[in-house]
């Protein structure tokens, strides 16, 4: 297999190299599908967005509405800034996906505020939950709002622009000492869901916690994510979109492109670069410089990924 791993520890690439491969907090990632292959067009607001052809969609993640700690005392405000960028886009995307941690503490007002801001984009939004969206006492608020027509804890699939999208939930029933978890029921459903699909159908899997193992020491991976990836092996084009780690990380492995999105709330440190994966406090002036700092371009045929810094401020 002609693997290209941007930061494969097995290849002995240094932490410095890993850091070079990553960029920080941003607004959203614009995706387009041409010729059946999804490409990231870069950060919202970059000039490339205007070139969007065919179907485009947007990914936002980890808005953590309600978060008010030093790393960003106004997470709702930065979400609003991100949504304002979306509204100002010259080419309107078809829809948006949100890869979880909509709220910080699953409070009613946090869900309300998130909805109030995100709905201003006037786009359909397909959500998957993060672990922060399931911590209300009765664990019902997320499902009441976003669970209609979904299975189990909230997984589902839909088709758009010739692409088959699958939203997965890997934040429930987590086991002590383990990572993210899809569970047998969901995996069975996924296998079944993909069964009738032509192998030429482009597949997009999206879930909160990375489906690939990014850094198990910090829980950044999914215990049974490998099983899900088995089911998409035969497909010509597979894109896996995740959040949770509040930074961009990408890897291309055979037919599968992995990508994690920035948070709209606060950055988290690079794997192993801090004592914990907790919110990373940066200078106030720097936070917004980091927002929307990078454009990400996926290239066809397993070519290396291009990450270009395009700061919105400064």
């Amino acid at each position: 297999m002609s693997d290209h791993d941007h930061h494969d520890e097995g290849n002995g690439i240094s932490r410095r190299r890993v850091l070079e491969c990553m960029t920080w907090a941003g607004t959203g990632v614009l995706w387009t599908v041409t010729g059946g292959v999804p490409h990231s067009l870069g950060m919202v607001g970059s000039a490339q967005a205007a070139e969007a052809k065919a179907m485009t969609f947007l990914q936002i993640s980890d808005s953590h509405v309600g978060f008010d700690k030093p790393a960003n005392p106004n997470a709702l405000g930065t979400l609003e800034e991100a949504i304002n960028k979306v509204k100002a886009m010259p080419a309107k995307p078809s829809f948006m996906i949100h890869t979880g941690d909509i709220t910080h503490l699953s409070k009613v007002e946090e869900f309300d505020n998130a909805e109030r801001i995100i709905s201003q984009a006037k786009l359909d939004v397909h959500y998957v939950p993060g672990e922060h969206d399931f911590i209300d006492e009765e664990v019902k608020l997320y499902k009441e709002r976003y669970g209609k027509g979904t299975k189990g804890a909230g997984w589902y699939s839909f088709d758009a622009g010739g692409v088959h999208f699958v939203g997965l939930v890997n934040v429930v029933d987590l086991k002590g000492g383990g990572l993210g978890n899809l569970g047998a029921e969901q995996l069975e459903w996924l296998e079944d869901d993909l069964k009738g699909k032509s192998k030429s159908t482009p597949i997009v899997l999206f879930a909160h916690i990375p489906l690939w193992t990014v850094y198990p020491q910090w829980g950044w991976g999914t215990e049974d994510g490998g099983r899900a990836l088995e089911y998409v092996k035969g497909f010509g084009s597979v894109t896996v979109l995740n959040g949770h780690i509040h930074q961009v990380m990408q890897k291309v492995e055979g037919n599968v492109t992995f990508h994690t999105a920035r948070s709209t709330a606060f950055p988290q440190p690079a794997p192993g670069s801090a004592p914990s994966p907790g919110p990373m406090k940066v200078e106030d002036s720097k936070l917004r410089t980091m927002l929307g700092v990078a454009s990400i371009n996926f290239k066809q045929n397993n070519q290396p990924l291009a990450i270009i810094d395009t700061p919105l401020v400064g």
């Binding site: 700690k69 030093p70 790393a71 910080h104 503490l105 699953s106 672990e131 922060h132 911590i135 006492e137 987590l174 086991k175 002590g176 000492g177 383990g178 990572l179 198990p216 020491q217 910090w218 829980g219 004592p275 914990s276 994966p277 907790g278 919110p279």
Partner: protein
């Protein structure tokens, strides 16, 4: 008469002194109990400190979350905290001896053990 009164007064003073001594004793006992029966586990940087704790039966353990991210403390079938935001606490009194493995249900790589003897 006088001597009786004096004697009564003397007894009263003695009784008062005894009471004082008793109060002091009670205070000492309380401090002693605090040392033995209330034990704290701090959550800092996504880790439990101490990660392994040995306590006597009847001990109350209190977890305090000092991270900017919420955490929980869950021991399957034994105890389950609500979500603790920053500075949130959870207490559990261990009434049965045994090893209690627990973890954070939001960040399951965070694990700890309470050994109750």
């Amino acid at each position: 008469m006088i001597s009786t009164t004096l004697r009564s007064l003397g007894l009263a003073i003695a009784a008062a002194m005894l009471l004082l001594v008793n109060f002091a004793g009670a205070e000492d006992a309380k401090v002693e109990n605090a040392k033995v029966e209330d034990t704290k586990v701090m959550i800092d940087n996504f880790t439990f400190e101490p990660v392994q704790l040995t306590v006597k039966v009847g001990t109350t353990v209190t977890w305090t979350n000092r991270d900017d991210i919420p955490h929980t403390v869950v021991s399957a079938g034994k105890f389950r905290s609500k979500t603790m935001d920053t500075d949130g606490t959870f207490s559990f009194t261990f009434t049965t001896a045994g090893d209690y493995k627990y973890f954070c249900s939001l960040h399951p790589h965070m694990t700890g053990t309470v050994k109750v003897e």
